[in-house]
Symmetry: C2
Subunit: 159 residues, 2 copies
């Protein structure tokens, strides 16, 4: 698994927008991202997991810090989409580990999450693709996180 991860990437100019209590019916997500596209907001991550209450979902997406207010205005403008609350958190950073051929994410995820935990870094959001695991953390810890992950995956020697 150490050999599977080939690199660590990060981006620190991110703001996280969370929409709580989004009605869980077809068309709502389309409306949210239609408005953002219309406003020309550059959306990076989109993450929707499962909220506990039936019928309502939470959707998180990231934009550049510069565009956070414009993103919020776009989803709040005009006819209500029906979400109960919107929250913006600036000062987040995205950190990713990249591994071509990760068969299961569990082992690579465990190493990544444990390395962050050992430095007391809290994971604020998680998203994966076939070749990558990305987390959002507090931006002030980004250097610490990247160094800890290089060490955890044995990437230091390659430097």
């Amino acid at each position: 698994e150490q050999r599977i991860v080939s690199g660590v990437a990060y981006s620190r100019d991110e703001a996280r927008v969370a929409l709580f209590g989004v009605p869980d019916s077809p068309g709502v997500a389309a409306e949210i991202f239609g408005r953002l596209a219309q406003a020309g907001v550059n959306v990076d991550m989109i993450v929707q997991s499962q909220a506990r209450r039936e019928g309502a979902q939470n959707i998180v997406f990231t934009v550049t810090e510069r565009e956070a207010q414009r993103a919020l205005d776009a989803v709040r403008a005009g006819a209500s989409i029906g979400f109960e609350e919107a929250q913006v958190r600036r000062d987040v950073a995205k950190v990713s580990v990249i591994g071509i051929g990760m068969r299961s994410h569990a082992g690579v995820a465990h190493t990544m999450f444990a390395a962050l935990a050992a430095k007391g870094i809290n994971i604020e959001a998680i998203s994966t693709s076939e070749i990558k695991i990305s987390v959002l953390i507090d931006a002030q810890y980004v250097e610490l996180a990247v160094r800890a992950l290089h060490t955890a995956y044995g990437l230091d020697a390659a430097a």
Copy 2:
């Protein structure tokens, strides 16, 4: 944007495990995925967005239908991790649109979500990477979804 998306992929043998009320402190995610790795469970998507209540998070991950029970047993065994509820939903399918060079996800996401909404297909989870947007839907709609997305992105002509 139509030209940006080059393909639609899907996988229908997925089960979604949702953990609600996961304590939001460093080390908890590491413990969850450490147990899954230990049990040899093949985890595909991992999605954590933001729960409304401070201090608690919801984490969703997908496994093959065959391994759903083993995954649940692994996170419930031994010392408690502290989550309040675990829920398994079989019969989900993952559908993805792939687009190299997607600058902003908002436009591609809008087209994808609107195409699914037009068929009455509800989006149960969302996750993105630089080149892909993936959603979880009810497995019975997977053919309908894939066909609708091919049409929405003008991929039919290429067939």
